[in-house]
Amino acid sequence: MLVGIAVVIAVLISMMGDLSTYETLASAKQKEGKSVTVIAMLDKSLPQPILYDPAKNANYTVFHVVDSLGNKAKVEYHFEKPFDMEKSERIVLKGKMKGDVFEITQKDGILIKCPSKYKDDPKAAENNLSQN
């Protein structure tokens, strides 16, 4: 019995070692080629932060992000552009830095945080009422 519990604890500890941590774009660059998680925003200073041309290639989205420290990077995502990406407040990215490009090869490597996609957005609601 105790042996079993010990084994489980050992497994748990080894799993802890597999956890990654949130990185900034700068620290991700230093860990080039290693799988990391970064929280960033779309770089709205660019006229077109997202490039997606489904007629040519529906499986390729390129966008530019900036993190909270102001570091910028280009991101290549080898899937369709997530819905509502333009409206996102924050984007959680899971992938690898390859040179200056952040590359995502997993479909769920992007989590879009919209101003509350599923639930009430008091601001949107208020705007809706105040407009004429």
Partner: protein, 811 residues
Amino acid sequence: MNYIGEHLFPGQLGHFLLLLSFVSSLVASVAYFKATVARADDEKNSWKRLARIAFIADAVCVAAVFAIIYYLISSHYFEYYYVWNHSDRSLNTGYLLSSIWEGQEGSFLLWAFWHGVLGIILIFKAKKWEAPVMTVVSLMQFCLATMILGLYVFDIKIGSNPFLLTREVFQDAPLFNDPDYLSNARMMDGNGLNQLLQNYWMVIHPPVLFLGFASTIVPFAYAVAGLWRKNYGGWTKAALPWALFSAAILGLGIMMGARWAYESLNFGGYWAWDPVENASLVPWLIIVAGLHTQVVYNATGHSLRPTYFFYILGFILILYSTYLTRSGDLQDTSVHAFTDLGMNWQLRLFVLFFTIPALALFLARYKHIPFIAKEEETYSREFWMFIGSLVLFLSGLFIIIFTSLPVINKLFNTNFTVGSEVEFFYNRIQIFVAIVLGVLTAVTQYLKYKNTNKKNFAKKIALPLIISLLISGAISLFGGIEYRAFGPGFLAAIHLAIFASVFTFAANAGYVWSGLSGKLKAAGGSVAHVGFGMMMVGILVSSSKKEVLSVNYLNPLNFGSENKEKGTENMTLFKGIRTDMGKYWATYVKDSVDAFDKTTYFHVRMEKKDGKGDFVLTPDLIRNTKGQEGLSQNPDAKHYWYKDIFSYISYAEVMNPEKDTAQFRRHTMKPGDTAFYSGGYMVLDRVTPNPSNDRYQFTPQDTAIMAELSITSSDGRNFRATPAFYVKNNQVHYNMDTIHSQGLAIGLSQVVDNQHVGVVVKESSRLTPFIALKVLQFPFINLIWAGVILMIIGFIMSIVRRAKAIKPERS
């Protein structure tokens, strides 16, 4: 200001009833407490009478509030914020109900409503356990009542009142300076129900799930009552049907949620290890563990302590999951958690209010809980059932620890996160849980309590073992399960897990005959296990053989050394053009719009290349509600008994309704000249007067000219274009040519001189409507749903049997 046309009475009545339910649940809690601790019978009985009246009053109030909210929503009284914010006029009856539980207030009400129902049953059935058990239930009702109270005490908001008026919420909006604001067009319709919840599963999944949540309080309350009254083992038989009910309904609710996710989200599946999913799965695992230790205790006297532990923990985890999903702490890890409603302190208090006293009581009384010092025999049923429960517990512990990382980060100021392979992160552990549980569930039924004759055991288990080896061997050999994404170790584990699941299925089905000699009344447990095995087989096969049908090899991108040969997952389909999709020809035929202009359906005809079976998929895009722009996807699936073909729209032009502003550019070219466009270049090969070919049939009497161009895109693909122009009845006619995949329209505009012609080129992605479609295939996914149904049937059979078993004691 006197506003015109508002219906204020129902709201005032509703809020009064909320306050009344708050007070009466408090009275019920105190009175039941007094009834529990009172010594004299008269005193006990008079407190109990008061408590019952108070509790029933509370239950009636909650039900009435619920009815009032439904009345307001179905009458479209948009002066109420809740109505305005969660519904609109386009919704049918079912979705009007969904509107109630779309908001946090409504879901708390739903939860409280079920406690009311369960509490009333307990009043009639619990006999001597009524007072202590109902003390706990009433306290819970009291806590839930505070969540929807909507009172401010010294600027601290307690609860969120569902009867606020729209004008009270948006006090500054200029609209409300008008006494007749309800006639304003903006108030004529509501914000609507979230588009993703407009699915029939969302009408029934939340009530069932919340009944499951609510029911976990009963075993918890019995356990607390046992500790409190120091009657440690007296409640376990009476509480067993309740625990079974809880496991059945919570399990059903979770799987209905999975079905909803499968049908209306674009995860491409029914389970994604999303924190919101995990938060309700873990309490279920713990309750099921408790269920098994409770059965062991009833039969042998072993395992009472773990039973206490599991039931207390199961309920605490329900509260904790409420906190996780409603506090907004999961924003970075979950796609569908609630956002912060500004009552986090209240939610935390709510969790601690039950956790601390319950755990303190458990620890204080732990030593007094009877136990049998002698360890169980290795060949006894109770030993392996206990091991199985322990595995369930550890599996749940593992899931909840990693789901809680955002909370852990907050507490300890760390920043851990699960890596980029979220599903594999959980799957690689849970696959071994499945193997161990599968084998245990298969074997344990054949063991007897106390001790088992080894020879008999071997004889009985041999047949199911051989059958399972044959069936699972056949699946492994001929099933084509080659899921190599995570290496040979994981693939081997999948095959082992398939064996274990088939073994569970066969051994438990066999046990109904050999162990129970066909006595179906007593077979509830076995039937539930058969369902469990079936579900596991379905999960393993449909996930490991999940296949992308819309693989696109046209753009073989370099995915790096990891996935070299892999195509990409979306297929671009131009309207009316039959496109090769592996075993199928796919044609995007047309699109249609529903009556409210909310949903656009895309009709895609799928033709099997071998001619056996054509069908139409109609995935749709639904307009976002709540004043948000844009659209959301809604998948569509073709169901066969042995597989599902599942599809959703990744892109369609309605998503991007900009006008086509691209202009034609003119090139003057002679044969051999090259012109460039953004995606490559084109060469004018030759110019032919009065051509006669597949496309044009001109005779030497006509005045016509055709250009032939070779186009090479930058990714190395070649195309041909043959634009032409001709004169007929003194009118010039132009025949353009289009290269859809390059977004090119090419025309021949004029003859400049006898060497040069004018070629016009437009680049635009909107020449022909197109969609980017993803199509997936899930084999044997119906085994999952059938397994769930069988499991529930097994639970119900057990509930009936265990409930009957209590009766003799009572009389």
